[in-house]
């Protein structure tokens, strides 16, 4: 029996993986070949998807990107045996794009069957929890603190401090809430993790629960991730059956249950306090802080709210030690950054590298420039609320502090590339529009200011009252920045201001209506 690996994650399927799998099945049947198709997840090299792998002489060989129409040809050439074919890429390690990465979190992505607990365990899974079960809560928290791990959702708050706060807040009930409402444009790392290596999230949450004394956990999953939902439901059930979740986990005498809640399509519910409101069954409305969720979170109880990647990273910290994890990175940004390279890019996908790499390295060396072949003009990092970086800033090392210094942010690691046809006034307008569409509507700067922002930029585009409009737009940005209740309104000025500052020529409009350049 030959094992064939064909990814089943959302991106691969969007690129035709299901059709490829169907064709492989058909061809094997027609040829009377005994095969097993394993639906793994993507390795993150989306530009190679659908990436079909076979197991031969104990190694995995990759073919890709495979078009369904090419499957018959592959079989003709000797597939599923190792065969010479134009699509053969060699072993994963031969693919430079993958080999150059440091995969601490995404090491198993693509390698394993996401639903297989055995696969997970055989590849280092649950070592972290095993270690954690032998440690005191304070020791677990200590390890996370020592690792230097910071929140991967965007705010980069030190995870150990957050956990310690929850641990030290006395309460009859505590919660762990995994933020899987991955809403930033151009991001997909959470989804890939949940679809390609889902037990890692479950294990991370369980370690967190052991550390802070929580007995209930929630995964707040955006509704746009139906495949992830399916996968998570299955692995939670499997973990429960294996006594890795539920009552008396691994005989430790400690309980932890995980529930999934699916969002309803609001970007703002990725903001942690809105997410808590939504988890409670209420409108996704931002709460003011303090009180911090770590003290008064879900249902008013101390709650760890962590991004999927943060919780995943914890398994590495506990399995391999804080020092191992801390060894990666630069400055105060320790460990690895999961960059999601998207937009107008030739070789897009998930790139996990230590903090400190430059944007240029990522976009040019990994990404290979734009898909359109035109020069890169602007790069937006950190989602729709992140800054647009001009070429002069592309050598900035990717760590939290360095980015803050240049008026930008890493956020959740989304990198969206634009070529020279981009209209930065339109992008600035889009930032305001995005805020207007996604604002929860609680605080005034965000609720009304975002709408006025769109209107002002339209006025600028029409050359109406130009200098007054610019002045007012800057005051509006200041009001949003300083007056908003949460980061949604607070960060909206970032893309707007960066567009104006770095691409002023796009705002120079000749007389008459409409945008001309």
């Amino acid at each position: 029996m030959v094992k064939i690996f064909i990814p089943a994650d959302t991106t691969s399927c969007a690129l035709g993986a299901d059709a490829v799998a169907k064709e492989v099945t058909l061809q094997a049947q027609n040829r009377g070949l005994d095969i097993t198709i394993i639906r793994n997840g993507s390795r993150g090299a989306f530009w190679l998807e659908p990436l079909v792998e076979i197991e031969a002489d104990g190694n995995r060989y990759c073919y890709g990107p495979v078009n369904p129409s090419e499957v018959a040809g592959l079989f003709d050439a000797g597939f599923p045996g190792l065969c010479e074919h134009a699509l053969l890429l060699g072993q994963a390690a031969d693919i430079d794009w993958l080999a150059r990465q440091d995969r601490l979190t995404f090491g198993r992505a693509g390698l394993i069957d996401p639903l297989s607990l055995d696969d997970y365990k055989q590849n280092g899974g649950y070592e972290g929890l095993n270690n954690a079960l032998d440690m005191s809560p304070a020791e677990i928290v200590g390890a996370v603190t020592d690792s230097g791990l910071r929140g991967r959702g965007g705010a980069a708050f030190p995870t150990g401090i957050k956990w310690r706060t929850v641990l030290n807040t006395p309460a009859d009930q505590k919660y762990v809430a995994a933020n899987a409402d991955e809403g930033d444009s151009g991001t997909f790392a959470d989804r890939l993790l949940m679809e390609a290596d889902p037990y890692q999230l479950i294990e991370g949450m369980t370690i967190c629960a052991m550390a802070v004394g929580a007995t209930e956990g929630y995964i707040y999953l955006r509704s746009e991730y139906p495949k992830a939902l399916q996968v998570l439901n299955q692995v939670i059930a499997t973990a429960e059956d294996a006594n890795l979740l539920g009552k008396n986990i691994c005989g430790s005498g400690r309980d932890f249950h995980i529930h999934i809640r699916v969002g309803a399509g609001a970007y703002i519910c990725g903001e942690e306090t809105s997410m808590l409101e939504s988890l409670e069954g209420k409108r996704g409305l931002v709460r003011f802080k303090p009180p911090l969720p770590a003290i008064e979170g879900l249902f008013g109880k101390p709650t760890v709210v962590n991004n999927v990647l943060t919780l995943a990273a914890v398994t590495t910290v506990l399995a391999k030690g804080a020092a191992y994890y801390k060894d990666y990175g630069s400055g105060r940004s320790r460990g690895t950054l999961s960059v999601q390279l998207a937009g107008n890019i030739r070789r897009g996908g998930l790139i996990e590298v230590p903090f400190g790499a430059s944007l240029r390295e990522l976009v040019e060396e990994f990404g290979g420039g734009t898909a359109s072949g035109r020069p890169v003009r602007a790069i937006q990092v950190g989602g729709p609320l992140g800054a647009y970086l001009p070429e002069s800033q592309w050598d900035t090392p990717m760590d939290y502090e360095a980015f803050t210094e240049v008026g930008a942010m890493l956020g959740h690691g989304g990198v969206v590339v634009f070529d020279d046809s981009v209209d930065m006034l339109a992008q600035a307008r889009f930032a305001m529009e995005f805020c207007a569409v996604e604002s929860c509507g609680k605080c005034t700067p965000c609720r009304i200011g975002s709408v006025r922002g769109v209107e002002l930029i339209d006025k600028i585009a029409k050359n109406e009252n130009k200098s007054a409009s610019f002045e007012l737009l800057e005051e509006l940005c200041e009001t949003l920045d300083q007056g908003s209740l949460c980061a949604m309104g607070g960060l909206t000025p970032m893309p707007v201001r960066s567009a104006i500052r770095h691409f002023p020529q796009d705002f120079e409009v000749s007389s008459g209506s409409g945008v001309e350049r």
């Binding site: 409108r283 003011f288 604002s439 006025r452 002002l456 007056g483």
Partner: protein
């Protein structure tokens, strides 16, 4: 520490729940010390520093949305909101800086860019927080201009009869939503859409009237702009003057500001410092004051010799002289005891006191009774017997410390809505609820409130229930024996223990009687007994039974046996139906008791009054109301002075009542309307509404509050003046120039009131009696160290089933109650726009019983009992259990009391309103009685119209 300036009216955020320590900080260069847990905004407001804000108000928790109240704090980044930032020791705060001013102006400009700028034509011009803040910051218009997106054309919701919602004025501060959630607890409002599309909406995108909104007005009160506005303000204009007074509806006794413009009431708004309501209100008190200026008001005295002839309008002097002459003639012919008086729980303490004084001193007998006879007289008897005082034991705010609340035969969301809101808030905080009621009342299951146990007992089985509870408590070892040994009579306890332990009181034995599954009852008993703080609240579902007094004693037994008396969070709390039930009882309205519940037969007490009143008093108790009716029918009782009470509608067995009234030779009715009773009257003395007189009301928590005259009396006399005139005309001199003098007399004569006077009530806002030397500022919690009677008394409470039970002829049990929008006999609320919610009494019937009879919702249904028949419309609902039907008694056209019987409480004669065996059948026309009433009403209306045409 520098002298504090005057605190602001609105401190922005509420007082911290539990302030354990004080914190010192500096704000704008001044030192201040405030409770830990206070917001920076509150601390500033206490110093008189106003930080601009639009979403904050001290009746609601901080929300942090408007971003106007930003401040600077040394050592902190940015500009935190002062409403959501808590004070910390040593904090240094600046509320003003150029940067902050600019930020605030910029935020305000955003508000104004989506708000109409025609302040001059706005109904709230001069009473708008947005306008105030704009004024403070000097912002007149918005640089964003008026061409952008806005909500100027949003459609108004005018569905509610009392207020409008104009979304174009809305600043989306959520105050209305939060008020509906946190204060009222109805959760009728929400925000639909998000961002700029956020819009306040009622229910599921419904109009306010279609939604679950109960029109309490909390949203209107909290709105900072004209978005939610009283229609009366839009029609009349903003008020010019405000007077604090006490609501004349239910026994909660809410404090209100009556806001007037000229001689017109513009609106009534709940008074924040009112301790009974803490700034909350319900649809009746808040909005239903239109009756006070209704065209049906009678403002000229009228007399006639017979009820078969027209009224004649006369002068006050003629009316008083006519009355005095007729009473003297009757007494001369039929004897001293042939006349009497009835006081009303709707009148003030002073008025009630004077009527009983008139009867005892002027008529020379003790034939005085009060409408409390037909509602809470068993409370008086039961609590006096067991605890020693005829009153509830707690202040309303005690419920905030209760862990378990047991609600027996009370429906506070309908009848005591403002207390219900407090209760719901406590339940949302986690207290548990046991509902004991034959019906699925709202509190059994409503938004964010669910009763842990609903003991759905059968009407008439209260004593069996209360005994079964006690049985479980003592046999399962849940009684608080330390408390009992210390606080109660041991002998009585022992004999009660022997009684209650008996198997005949076990829940298993009694479940066929009560209909409550034994296991559920046991669970409820354990919950109550083991609560920590368990409080009982009860209503007329307890008292209006043949064993009403027994149940009250049984309730007191439960509280004593579990140690749940004498501190906050516990107690036995009767929810009084009318505004001054407590007061009318306190004032000696009962035939056997002088003010302060002292028996008329006690020569020492009598001596005290004889000395003050300068008259000899009769030592024998006089007639109770039902005795008066019986005596009238027998021909022994001929003259009745009835103040502010509509016995023809409110008392049971209408046929009997009407026969008695017709037998009277002189019935004097003092009221604001020609009520049902007045149709049988010979003298009509036009009274004044609560807005037109001075006095005091005493609410269910013994709180004495001032009623203040806001408008001139339409009839020219306050009610106490009428009684004074009548006494003088009868030859018994009364001489008071102000009700405060009457209160001074009450204080001189009544030990529990000895330190009460108007000046003190004005100074303290209100006083809970006992208020005397021992408790100069009143007594919020009673029986703290010992019971008023010394040791608590466990009364034996044997269950005796009522004779009123379902039979083949009358297979259903009818029980009665109230709806939120209507009040008592409806004389007031029927004459307001509250009829938009309820304009008739409806018969609730279970689907099973309805199907058996072919009845659908909306059908005319005849109900008949051994006392009488009436017809009303049916509503088929599972709120009632099979075998039980339910209606209200608000509408004279229905005359629910035509079917209720003459059965009454063994101890107090309180009628058994809550149990009547009836049959219900589908019919097509009104009952015979209703047809006769229609004829009689037409005739009486013609008599009134003729008098009005003729004039004085």
């Amino acid at each position: 520490m520098s002298e504090l300036q005057t605190p602001l009216n609105d401190l922005g955020t509420p007082r911290p729940r539990e302030a354990l320590t004080r914190v010192s900080l500096e704000i704008d260069g001044q030192q201040v010390q405030v409770d830990a847990g206070s917001s920076v905004m509150r601390a500033a407001a206490l110093m008189g520093i106003k930080v601009p804000s639009l979403c904050a108000t001290d009746s609601l928790d901080a929300f942090g949305s408007c971003r106007m109240c930003l401040v600077e704090i040394e050592g902190r980044k940015g500009s935190p909101a002062s409403c959501t930032t808590l004070v910390e020791e040593g904090m240094v705060v600046s509320t003003r800086s150029d940067k902050l001013e600019k930020l605030r102006r910029n935020v305000l400009e955003l508000y104004i860019s989506d708000h109409p700028l025609d302040c001059v034509t706005c109904p709230t011009n001069g009473d708008c927080e947005l306008q105030d803040v704009a004024g403070e910051l000097g912002v007149e218009d918005s640089r964003y201009g008026l061409t952008g997106s806005n909500h100027q054309h949003a459609v108004k919701d005018e569905s509610n009869p009392y207020f409008t919602f104009d979304p174009s004025m809305c600043i989306v501060c959520y105050r209305c939503v939060r008020a509906c959630d946190d204060i009222q607890g109805t959760f009728a409002l929400t925000v639909d859409g998000r961002g700029f599309e956020s819009k306040i909406t009622a229910g599921q995108m419904e109009s306010f009237m279609e939604s679950e909104c109960v029109s309490c007005g909390a949203c209107v009160n909290s709105c900072p702009t004209a978005a939610l506005e009283e229609k009366s303000v839009i029609e009349i204009g903003l008020p010019e003057k405000s007077t604090v007074t006490t609501c004349a509806y239910c026994g909660v006794g809410c404090a209100f500001k009556v806001e007037t413009r000229g001689d017109e009431v513009v609106r009534m708004t709940p008074y924040k410092d009112g301790k009974a309501n803490e700034g909350h209100a319900c649809v009746k008190g808040r909005f239903a004051f239109g009756y006070t200026s209704h065209k049906d008001r009678i403002t000229t005295p009228m007399i006639r010799d017979s009820i078969d002839e027209s009224w004649r309008q006369v002068s006050w002097q003629q009316a008083i002289e006519f009355t005095a002459r007729r009473f003297r003639e009757i007494q001369a012919e039929y004897g001293r005891d042939s006349v009497g008086g009835i006081t009303s729980s709707r009148c003030s303490n002073e008025e009630t006191y004077l009527v009983q004084k008139l009867v005892r001193a002027g008529f020379g007998n003790n034939n005085v009774d009060t409408c409390a006879r037909v509602c809470h007289s068993p409370t008086g008897y039961g609590l006096k017997t067991t605890l020693g005082e005829s009153a509830g034991t707690q202040a309303f705010d005690s419920v905030a410390k209760a862990d378990v609340v047991m609600l027996i035969g009370a429906n506070p969301t309908e009848a005591h809505p403002v207390f219900a809101s407090r209760l719901k808030r406590r339940l949302r905080e986690g207290a548990q609820l046991i509902v004991v009621d034959p019906r699925k009342i709202e509190l059994v299951n409503s938004p964010h409130v669910r009763a842990t146990h609903h003991l759905q007992l059968l009407p008439g089985s209260n004593v069996a229930f209360v005994n079964a509870m006690a049985h479980v408590i003592v046999t399962e070892g849940l009684a608080d024996e330390t408390y009992i040994r210390e606080r109660c009579e041991i002998e009585a306890w022992q004999s009660w223990l022997n009684f209650i332990r008996g198997e005949e009181n076990s829940p298993e034995h009694l479940q066929s009687v009560t209909g409550i599954p034994a296991s559920e009852l046991r669970a409820a008993a354990r919950l109550y007994a083991e609560a920590g703080n368990a409080a009982i609240y009860y209503g007329l579902g307890v008292t209006e039974h043949s064993q009403g007094s027994t149940t009250v004693m049984g309730i007191a037994n439960l509280a004593m046996a579990t140690g749940n008396l004498g501190r906050e969070g516990v107690g036995v709390n009767p929810l009084r139906g009318q505004n001054n039930v407590q007061g009318s009882c306190d004032m000696g309205s009962f035939p056997h008791e002088l003010p302060g519940y002292r028996h008329i037969s006690d020569p020492e007490v009598r001596g005290l009054f004889e000395n003050e009143w300068q008259v000899k008093l009769q030592p024998e108790p006089g007639l109770r109301i039902p005795n008066m009716f019986d005596a009238a029918i027998c021909g022994d009782f001929k003259g009745l002075y009835c103040q502010g009470e509509d016995i023809a509608q409110s008392d049971p067995n209408t046929h009997h009542v009407e026969a008695a009234l017709k037998a009277l030779e002189c019935l004097v009715v003092q009221d604001i309307f020609l009520n049902e009773t007045a149709r049988f009257a010979h003298v009509f003395l036009p009274g004044s509404t609560f807005l037109e007189k001075n006095g005091t009301f005493t609410n269910a928590e013994r709180r004495i509050s001032r009623v203040r005259k806001v408008l001139p009396s339409r009839s020219g006399k306050e009610d106490w003046e009428i009684t004074v005139d009548l006494a003088n005309a009868l030859g018994y001199p009364m001489n008071y120039s102000h009700p405060s003098e009457i209160m001074d007399e009450i204080a001189r004569l009544t030990p529990t009131f000895s330190a009460v006077n108007y000046a003190k009530i004005d100074a303290l806002g209100s006083i809970q009696w006992p208020c005397n030397e021992a408790a100069p500022e009143g007594t919020p919690t009673m029986h703290v160290d010992e019971f008023v009677r010394g040791k608590g008394y466990f009364a034996i409470t044997g269950f005796v089933p009522t004779s009123e039970r379902s039979t083949r002829k009358y297979p259903l049990l009818l029980t009665t109650g109230r709806v939120l929008s209507q009040y008592n006999v409806g004389a007031q609320t029927r004459r307001t726009k509250n009829t938009a919610w309820a304009d008739q009494d409806l018969l609730e019937i279970h689907p099973v019983d309805a199907e058996d009879r072919g009845i659908s919702s909306g059908d005319w249904v005849g109900i008949s009992s051994r006392a009488g028949d009436t017809v009303l419309r049916a509503v088929v609902t599972e709120k009632v259990q099979p075998g039980v039907v339910y209606t209200t008694f608000h509408f004279p056209l229905t005359g629910a009391n035509i079917v209720t019987t003459g059965n009454s409480d063994w101890a107090t004669n309180c009628p058994e309103y809550k149990v009547t065996a009836v049959q219900a059948t589908r019919v097509t026309q009104p009952s015979e009685w209703q047809k006769q009433q229609a004829v009689f009403n037409r005739q009486q209306k013609a008599f009134l119209d003729k008098a009005r045409r003729s004039g004085v």
